[in-house]
Symmetry: D2
Subunit: 350 residues, 4 copies
Amino acid sequence: MIKVGIVGGTGYTGVELLRLLSQHPQVKITAITSRKEAGMPVSDMYPSLRGRVDLAFTTPDEARLNECDVVFFATPHGVAMAQARELLADGVKIIDLAADFRLKDTAEFERWYGMPHSCPDLLAEAVYGLPELHREAIRKARIVGNPGCYPTSVQLGFAPLLKTPGLVDAAHLIANCASGVSGAGRKAEVHTLLAEASDNFKAYGVKGHRHGPEINQQLRVIAGVAPGSAAVHCVFVPHLIPAIRGIHSTLYARLTPSGQQADLQALFEAHYRDEPFVDVMPAGSAPETRSVRASNFVRIAVHKPAPDLAMVLVVEDNLTKGASGQAVQCMNLMCGLDETTGLLQVPVLP
Amino acid sequence: MIKVGIVGGTGYTGVELLRLLSQHPQVKITAITSRKEAGMPVSDMYPSLRGRVDLAFTTPDEARLNECDVVFFATPHGVAMAQARELLADGVKIIDLAADFRLKDTAEFERWYGMPHSCPDLLAEAVYGLPELHREAIRKARIVGNPGCYPTSVQLGFAPLLKTPGLVDAAHLIANCASGVSGAGRKAEVHTLLAEASDNFKAYGVKGHRHGPEINQQLRVIAGVAPGSAAVHCVFVPHLIPAIRGIHSTLYARLTPSGQQADLQALFEAHYRDEPFVDVMPAGSAPETRSVRASNFVRIAVHKPAPDLAMVLVVEDNLTKGASGQAVQCMNLMCGLDETTGLLQVPVLP
Amino acid sequence: MIKVGIVGGTGYTGVELLRLLSQHPQVKITAITSRKEAGMPVSDMYPSLRGRVDLAFTTPDEARLNECDVVFFATPHGVAMAQARELLADGVKIIDLAADFRLKDTAEFERWYGMPHSCPDLLAEAVYGLPELHREAIRKARIVGNPGCYPTSVQLGFAPLLKTPGLVDAAHLIANCASGVSGAGRKAEVHTLLAEASDNFKAYGVKGHRHGPEINQQLRVIAGVAPGSAAVHCVFVPHLIPAIRGIHSTLYARLTPSGQQADLQALFEAHYRDEPFVDVMPAGSAPETRSVRASNFVRIAVHKPAPDLAMVLVVEDNLTKGASGQAVQCMNLMCGLDETTGLLQVPVLP
Amino acid sequence: MIKVGIVGGTGYTGVELLRLLSQHPQVKITAITSRKEAGMPVSDMYPSLRGRVDLAFTTPDEARLNECDVVFFATPHGVAMAQARELLADGVKIIDLAADFRLKDTAEFERWYGMPHSCPDLLAEAVYGLPELHREAIRKARIVGNPGCYPTSVQLGFAPLLKTPGLVDAAHLIANCASGVSGAGRKAEVHTLLAEASDNFKAYGVKGHRHGPEINQQLRVIAGVAPGSAAVHCVFVPHLIPAIRGIHSTLYARLTPSGQQADLQALFEAHYRDEPFVDVMPAGSAPETRSVRASNFVRIAVHKPAPDLAMVLVVEDNLTKGASGQAVQCMNLMCGLDETTGLLQVPVLP
C-alpha cells in the first residue's frame, strides 16, 4: 500500500482527493493536515465522507509526512515550495496541486503569484504533471507540478494541432473557456455566492488570468518552440458557469492552407487512440460537461466551422481531471501502478 | 416628493430598496450610506443600477439623514436602535429592515440577537410593519419594525385560521418553510457559495432560528392571546432552496371538530378580499415561488390533506414582500400615499 | 458472474442502473431493451457511458431475457406485470423499479395507476424491496417490487418511532418531502424544463400523490397494524427542489407522554447500528442531500423541536437509494452476495 | 391607447410581451390567441399575471385582430407570413417575433426554416427591427421582423468596429455566444429539462444554427458590403447556459494595423452615446447577464486581449432586448411614442 499524506485538505481539491484516494485499492491515507482545523474529524467538515474516512485533521508537525510515500499539497500557492526540500530529502514524492511548480520562469511566477520562488532548483527539476504529454518524465519524477484546470483542457485540445507543424496559425490561438464555480475553491467570497453566481454568466479575469502564462508556456513546449516565442500565442478568456463542476473549452485556430487539407478528425483519433482518459468523440459531436462529471475523463470534438478555422471542444471535470484526479493519475505513474487504478469511476449523469 | 435616505445599502435588501425606490414616482433618494464603501458610486457595486441611480455611498456624517422624510435601515441588527432617537427628534420617520424593532420582549431580543436593547421606549412605540395586519397603526407610526421574511409568510398564511377562534389547535402549529439563498444576505460565507448550496437541499437552524420567536409573538397577537401564552405555539423549521429568491411556507394546523366543518377556501377568500398584495388562489392550487418573483405579491392556497388537518401554502419573494417591498408598502402608508404606489411590478416569469 | 438484463433502460433509473452495474464486480449486463431506440448504442444516448457500456438497445424479442439470472424493469408502470410470469417460469428473478409490485391492494393499484392489475397472485408473492425492513424476505424472493423514492425515505425515517409501540400519535403523521427534478424522469414535459423549475419551489401532487398509499401501506406494516387501519396515517406532501438529484424528508410525529420521555437519539442509533447504508447523524445535525449524492447512503437526524414533537430529517439520492441503488442492493441479497457489493461509492461533494 | 393583439401568446416571448405590455401606459391588449388553449384564462397558464391580465386565450377567428393597431406574432415560424397580408390590408401594423421577416434571401429562409416563403413582396418591404441600427426605417414600417436573440447581441457588439472601414479583418469574425435555456422556448423537450441542462455546459448547433445566416446578413448590412460578400463573415458558436435568462456574447475580431492604433473604448462610447438602452461600460469591465435581467438594456465592454485582437463582451436578456422588449421598442417607434415608454424597468438583481 502506498502511504499518502495530504497537506491542507479542507478545500475542494482536498475533498476530491479524499473521495478518490479513499476508494483507491493501493492507497492508505495516513495523514491530512490543516493548522486551522486540527483535531476536527474530516467527516465533520465533509459529511459525504462519514464512515469512509476516519482521519481527523492534524497539524503539520503531528502528521509525520516524512514517513509517507507520496504527499499531495492541496494548499494555497507558496506552501509546497516551502516544504518540498525537506520531504524530498526524506525520500517522499511530492505532487503539488497549487501553482508552485508549474511556471518555469521564476519572474513570471513572481509576477502572477505575488511572491518570489523559494527553490528555483526544485522548480527546474519538477515535472509538469500532464500524463498525456509528459508520461515518461512523470514516471521518474520526484516532484510534480499538477496542471491548472483550464490549462489541462486547453493543452489536450490544441495538442494534436500543434504537434504537427504547419497546420495552424499558432501565433493567434483563442481559448474561450468556461468553468463551474468550484474552480474558485471553497473560499468565502461574495462573487461566488449562489445568489451572485447563479442564473448568471460572465467573463472574468479579462485583464489577465494566472492560467494564461501557464497555457502559453506549455503550448510552446508542445509546439517545440522556444519559451516566450511569439510563434505560439494563445488568448485565454475564462467565463463563469452557474454550475458546480465542469470546464468547457471552445478553442479556435486559423488553419493554414495545408491545415485546410488535413483530416482533423482522423488526426485527433490517432493522437489519442491509446489514451485511457481522453475520448475523441465522433465527428459532429458537442461534448457536454456532465458527460464527465465526477470522473477523470476528457471528451474532445473537433470541427471546422469555416474552411480556414479549426474549432476544438473539450470538456473535463475541473476537480477531477482538472485537479485531483490528474494528481492521482500522476501518483499512479510515479509509483509504478497502472495509470488508471482507482480512477475509472463512471461519470454521474444525470 | 418624499425625501428618502437609506442607511447601509450594500446588501440585498439595500439593492432591492434601490430598485423599487428608483422607480417610485413619489420618491427622491437623497442619500445612501456605507462607511466601508464611502465614495463608491452605487452603480459600481450594482451595475444593474447604471444610469438609474446616480448616487455614491456616503459616510453617515455626510448623509444629512436628518433632512429626510423617511430613513430606511438596511443594516445589521443593532444599528437602527442606535440612531433612531436622534432622527425621530428631527421629525424623520424610520423603517428598520433589521430586527431591532420586531421583538417586543427585550430579554427575548437580547437572547436571540446577542446584544441588549438600547431604547426600550422606542421599541414599545414601534409598530410591526405588516400592513395586512396592522395597517392603521402603520399609517400613524414614527417607527416601523419591518417583519422578517419567513414571519411575513407564516403570519399571512395562518391569520385567517387564527382570527376565527376555535378552528384549529393553535398550540401545535407547524411551519415548514424554505427560502432562496438571498435570504442569507450578501455576506461572504462558505455555506451559501454556489458550489455548496446549489444542487442541494437541507434544513437549517434546527436548534432554533431567530424568526421562531418573532413568529410566535405575532401569531399570539393575531389570535388575541397573551404574550408567551401556550395556547398558541408554532414549530418553525426553515430549509434552504438552491435558488436566489423566494420563500415557500407549508403550514399545518390540526382542525378542531368545528374547524372540520368550516369552508376554509371561503374563509381565506373573504379574509383577503380587499388586499391588493394577497392573492388567494383557487381551491386545489399549488402556488410557486416564481409566480411572485421580484414582486410584492403573496399567493396563498388552502388545503385539507386529511379531514382534521388544514394545510396552507404561501409564496412570497423574500426580498420584496419579505423585506424591501413591504418596507416601501409601509412607507406609502406612513406618508399618506396609495399603498400600492410603485409596487405593482408584474412578477418576472420565467 | 450474474447475468443481468434491463428492460427499458432509456430513463434515469435505467442510466443509473447502468452506472452502478457496469462497475459491479459480479455482474455482466447481457441485454438492455428499448423498442423505440432499438439499434442505438447505449452510449450514444448517454455519453457518460462511452467506453464503459458497449451494448446497444435491443428489442425485447432479441434480448433473450429468459437466459438472464436477474431482470430489472426500469419501465413505465404496467410493463413488468405483463412480462413477469414468463420470466419467472424460466427461473429469472425480477426486480421492478416501477410500481407494479408495490401496492398490495389491487383496487388501490388500479385507482392510482389507472389500469387493472394483471397478476394478483404474483403481486401477493412479491416482496417489498426495502432491505432495512425486509431483508430476509428479499433474500428468498423471486419478485421484488422496488420501493418508491419518497416512500424509502419516509419509512426509514419513521421506522424507529413506529417499531416501538406507543411512542407517537401514529394516526397523525406528516411527511413534508422535497425531491430533485430527476424524480420526474427523463420525459419531455413542460413543468420540469429548466426554465420552469429552476429558481423556483412549489408543492405538487397536493390533491394526492401515488406515493401516499404506498407510504401508508408500508407504515402500517412497520407498525404492525392491519392494512387500512386508521391507527396509522401519514399525510404526504411532496415539493419540487430546483436540483437534479436528492430527496429531503422532514417528518413530524406528535410524541405521546411516554414518547416524550424516550431518548430518541439513542433509539435511532440502536435501530440502525448494523445497517451499512443508513447513517444516523449526531444529535443536532441537519443532513443535506449532497452528502449522499450519487451514493446508496441515507443520512438521518432526529430532533425534538417541541417537547411533544419528534422531527426526523432524512436525505437520500432519489436515483440511487431511492431507485437503482436500492434495486442493486436487493439483487445482491437475492443472489447471495454481500449486500454492499458494488454500492460503496463515496458521495460526490461538491 | 394603442390597441394590441398577440397571436400565439403561450410561449416565453408571449408571456414576456404580456408582462411588458400590461405595464405599458399607452397600450390596451385587446386579444391574445391560441387555438389550443382557447377559453383558458391567460393567468391560469401564467399565475404571475393573476390580477393583471384578465384576458382569456381566444381562437384567431374570435380575436378580431383586424381592429388592432398593432399585432405581435409570438408564434412558430411560418404563422406570421400566412396572416400578414390580410392584416396589413386592414391597416394593422405587424411585428413578428419569429423568423418570417428576418432573412431577406428566400432561398436561405427555405433552407434554414424548412418551408418556402409565402410572401416575398412583404419580406422585401419588412424592416429589420433593431432600432439602434434601423430606427428611422422602423418608424415608418408596416411590418417589422424582430431580430433573433443572438443576432441582436452580436450586431450591437460588432457594429462600432464594422461601421468604421478598415479597423478589423471582417472576413474572420468569431461570435462565441451563450444563452440561458429560455431561449429554446416553452416546449416539452428532453434536452432542456432541468435534470439535463442544469449543472452542465455545452456548445450546440455546431453543424449550423439558424441565427448564423441572420448574423451574417446583417453584419454585411452594417459594414456596407453586398449580400453574401466574403468580405464579411462571422463564425457563430452558441452554447447553453444552465440559467433561465441571459445571453452573453464574446466577440473576437482581428485588428488591422490601423485598428491597432484606434481607441476602441472611445469609439464604442461615441457610437452609443445617445442610445437609451445600450450601456458601454468603463474600460476593463466584464458585464454579467444578471445586470440586465428582465430589462431591455444591453451592456457592452470592449477589450484588447492581444495587440492585434479586439474582444467585445455583450450581455442582454434574451427574452427582453433579445425578443419581446425589443418588439415593444419597435412598437413605440412605429406608433410615434417615446422609444423607451414602458421599457425602463430596473434590472432584477440579485
